[in-house]
Subunit: 467 residues, 2 copies
């Protein structure tokens, strides 16, 4: 049963399991105590800190263990902002950061701070020049992920770090997706990561604060972990996290080459096997194991369900898959299609056959979903679905109000042929995904997107037929 | 090698270990995901939540798992204060709460709120009437531990909860030390606990918020655990925490009776075996497994070291044992002796022989420490150590500036015989423990403590010889 969602959480690495079990007997006592059990726990903690610091490329006293990657991000951002509050209250983030970063930014804004979101291009990367332009005299902190968690695109961290250094602004790098693959190079100031992303146990994150970076921990005082992570340490999990980071790093070089080729195969073959697919993210500057694509006229949730039935666990940034009504902020920032979105993140050691089987299962799953949605006949004429505007055959209105993605796009595709070239179709929709998917469809279909305007109960999206 | 410090952290219970190992294979995926691995993880999480809620005596949807007891306290206090900020910014805590509660109170004060610390009596318990009197019209939250972590005294939680309810104030109970022994009875509103205190793994705490209690989670948003505990859940640890709570509860009734008798034996025998000992805490209304006593003329750190060499791991609230320069705030609030302080917290299943062996080892250890400090001859005349004041033989000054506890008290004891009854000895000291230990010594020795006054470089403590 292939699990292709390591970007969410990786199964426990055998080395992590072994280290966890081995340290349960020695790592339960309070490392701050002077007695035998405390000293033993303290030795384990010190050794884990040294191993993790070596893997990160920092000094052990710069690294603290947190209770999760999210907590590392929240504490890191709050502490760095507060440490530099005399400089100002401006925070810079990219538009495609992990939600933990964006939520911290939201909290900063709610507390009276200001935030600039640096936009990304269609591949999901920020331009170093755009990032540089966002830095101001009152910028207290800048945040940039090492690589994107939804599309795999690597960010130009070293260039952005140089720009930040030149401006005297510390850069916090969220390395959650990449730390298992290698160190983050460049002159960053703070770094965060999450052990369960590399096969360590859940409940352990890293927060690195370089010496010399102004940092004022927020929240109630606590003497553990240099005052940067309140609460009793989970030493067996910390030991397992450090040991597995070292282990995955030892395998990372060779495995990256192998997975990169498998992902290239998916990137090439999926558009050949499945019609109307858009592959997202940078094809070259990317994580080795991750690929994301979206399937026009398909519903992400049903697609996940079909793939799950076929034995494949993947994730999706479609709004149709989650409890939220908005599609992935990453896909939105990139301006790419979100409907029928599938993210594949391969586990280390995945057999080639599993990838081949995925490629044979996927087209069947997509076809089945599209058939169920009545989308197979999309782009054939279906005059019943659209009303001409004031008797003008060159203007049609499709009422998709109350319908969830991908229905509005399917209905658009069905009627576009009903207007002559030069004619306009207006789709009425109250689904947030339409805002992203209708322009993306136009792009894929070489039709002209004219824009959106508010209508009673939703939004009208106007599309001119140009071919 | 007997470990007598379960109040700090308990070794992993066999059921916790078993549950942890069993759930490593099933509990690593994201429980919010729809695929097989996510659903399995979600089922484990749900079952653990139900088991823990049953042990606490609450609804599963009232209980969230946090990354530690400290985090549960910090999040619980911040969320409850914010949820009732329209009522006011007043917080009530007892003077003997765990440092996590007091640090949260400190943070609240730093943020502009007001805090009342309810004092305790010599046994360490608050009086319900004193607690009631501290409640005000603008009190947003009250906090009271179920039992004290340093001296074992149980607090009158049910009475205080009734008083809070009558005043319309929610009561948060820190049940870290008692939850393994049983439910917290009474009409509390919020409850916190820590799994590693009952033999569960570190890295897991509980925060219970009763339905109807106004609660506004603080910090950046996060959708996990009802928005009350940010970060990816450590499900294997959560499963182990819930399973071990159930297991220790099944043994708690019988084991409490047995440990209570062993602690009674320590409470009776230690003062018989060791001269100049004060046993702290309530002899009856107390945790079954915990006892604290202080040894006059002994240095806590050296005593811990001696006991460690003899194979016993215990803790101490003496300032001489830790990196801080102040003695335990609990002993200070109780007004009892802090020097030579030893806390014994017995593990479940401890053999009676281990306790007997401790009782045979302790007198040797205390004697050896006292001898090394030159305290054996304390209370014999030692005229060289004191200077008469302006030639008056009825007034002596002992200069103990720069000397750490228990030296100032030892020097006081050595010279008190040098003044006639009615005469006064002034001890000059810059050690914070002297503020607590000199009055406590007077109490134990039936001498009269006259008070303290600032002197150059420290404090002068005046003692009148009355016997």
């Amino acid at each position: 049963m292939p699990y292709f969602d390591t970007a969410s959480s990786a199964p426990l690495h055998p080395v992590a399991r072994q280290a966890l079990q081995a340290s349960l007997d020695e790592g339960w006592a309070d490392p701050a105590r002077l007695y035998r059990e405390g000293r033993r726990a303290g030795l384990l903690l010190d050794a884990a800190r040294e191993a993790a610091a070596d893997a990160v490329g920092c000094r052990p006293d710069e690294l603290t263990f947190t209770s999760s990657g999210t907590r590392a991000v929240h504490s890191g951002i709050a502490g760095a902002l507060s440490g530099r509050r005399r400089v100002g209250g401006h925070l810079v983030v990219s538009a495609v950061e992990h939600s933990s970063v964006l939520h911290a930014a939201q909290a900063h804004r709610a507390g009276g701070g200001s935030v600039t979101e640096v936009p990304v291009g269609r591949t999901g990367a920020v331009a170093p020049s755009a990032y540089r332009d966002a830095l101001r005299a009152d910028t207290a902190l800048a945040c940039l992920q090492s690589a994107n968690h939804e599309v795999g695109t690597e960010q130009p961290v070293a260039e952005v770090a140089d720009a930040c250094r030149a401006a005297g602004v510390p850069l916090l790098v969220d390395a959650a997706q990449s730390l298992g693959w290698g160190r983050v190079e460049g002159a960053w100031s703070l770094l965060t990561a999450s052990a369960h992303k590399w096969g360590g146990p859940a409940g352990t994150g890293l927060l690195v604060v370089r010496k010399g970076v102004r940092f004022a921990p927020q929240g109630p005082a606590d003497e553990r972990e240099s005052g940067r992570a309140a609460g009793f340490q989970n030493i067996p999990a910390i030991v397992a996290a450090a040991a597995s980071l070292r282990a995955v790093r030892a395998e990372a070089g060779a495995e990256a080459v192998r997975l990169r080729a498998l992902v290239d195969r998916i990137r090439t073959r999926v558009p050949e096997l499945v019609p109307d697919v858009e592959v997202a993210g940078d094809p070259v500057r990317r994580l080795p194991h991750l690929v994301t694509f979206s399937c026009l006229y398909a519903d992400g949730e049903t697609l996940l369900h079909e793939l799950d039935k076929a034995g494949f666990s993947v994730s999706s940034g479609s709004s149709c898959t989650s409890s939220t009504l908005t599609p992935s902020h990453v896909l939105r920032a990139m301006g790419v299609l979100s409907e029928g979105n599938i993210r594949v993140s391969l586990p280390a050691g995945v057999p080639e056959e599993d990838v081949e089987r995925f490629l044979s299962v996927l087209p069947v799953a997509v076809r089945s979903v599209r058939e169920r949605l009545g989308a197979s006949g999309a782009e054939s004429e279906d005059p019943l679905r659209a009303a001409p505007v004031a008797g003008d055959p060159r203007e049609l209105v499709v009422d998709s109000l109350g319908k969830r993605c991908p229905i509005p796009v399917i209905e658009l595709a069905k009627v576009i042929g009903n207007v002559p070239v030069g004619g306009v179709v207006t789709v009425l929709s109250d689904d947030e995904a339409a805002r992203l998917d209708i322009p993306a469809w136009c792009d894929m279909r070489s039709q002209e997107y004219l824009g959106a305007h508010p209508v009673d109960g939703g939004t009208g999206y106007r599309v001119r037929r140009v071919s």
